[in-house]
Subunit: 113 residues, 2 copies
Amino acid sequence: MTATDEDRADAWFHALADRTRRDILRRVLAGEHSVSALAQNYDMSFAAVQKHVAVLERAGLLSKRRQGREALASGDVEAVRSVGAMLTELEALWRGRISRMDELLAHPDHTQR
Amino acid sequence: MTATDEDRADAWFHALADRTRRDILRRVLAGEHSVSALAQNYDMSFAAVQKHVAVLERAGLLSKRRQGREALASGDVEAVRSVGAMLTELEALWRGRISRMDELLAHPDHTQR
DNA sequence: ACAACGTACAACTACTTGGTTGTATGTTTT
DNA sequence: AAAACATACAACCAAGTAGTTGTACGTTGT
């Protein structure tokens, strides 16, 4: 796995590690929303919400398009799938442990230390 | 979704948002390792690695058992699956958007603003 | 008994983060 | 033209993070 993959993963998980950002992501996956429309849902300043959106954007989890004075944000489901795929790879490592244990039971005399 | 679920999600994603911790998790999912055995893989102090292990443990992504002077860590695949499930829920929201778009195409005159 | 090993934790430092307010710039509406 | 709206970004602050070194304590090997 290259360094940039790890960089992307850092950004993904960091972006997801805040409940406000997860909530924003849910909304923009369900449909396009302007930043100020999003901001009205939270008990914090517009600037704070705008920063959260920027974190999600830098992580590639959402993208914005300009329409007049509004910035319309929508979620990128492909990025979400990529994060899911990384979790699936972790599971595969665990399954590898299981198959090595099977191996151990099948050929005990070659696997001892 | 309850507040504690969100707390757990905060801990999960925060724990995964560091490449050293992800690497540690890969190793302990593949098999049990002592903290000092893990530490030998990284160019940082033992104490730093021990802290990373503690973060993963607090997030419920790994558990330790004592054996003599060693603390053997192993990954919890069920927690990894729970994180994956959360991503799948996000995808489901996106699919909901698609079905609403289908709805829009099927009944355009009731859905205009 | 003693030295070495493995772990845990406290205290400290440099850096990052999540929030704030204020300011600037462009777009609608009146 | 002026007022209101939507966004972006800088500067600041309190709190948290990732690393360090040092210390303490139980376990293992000689």
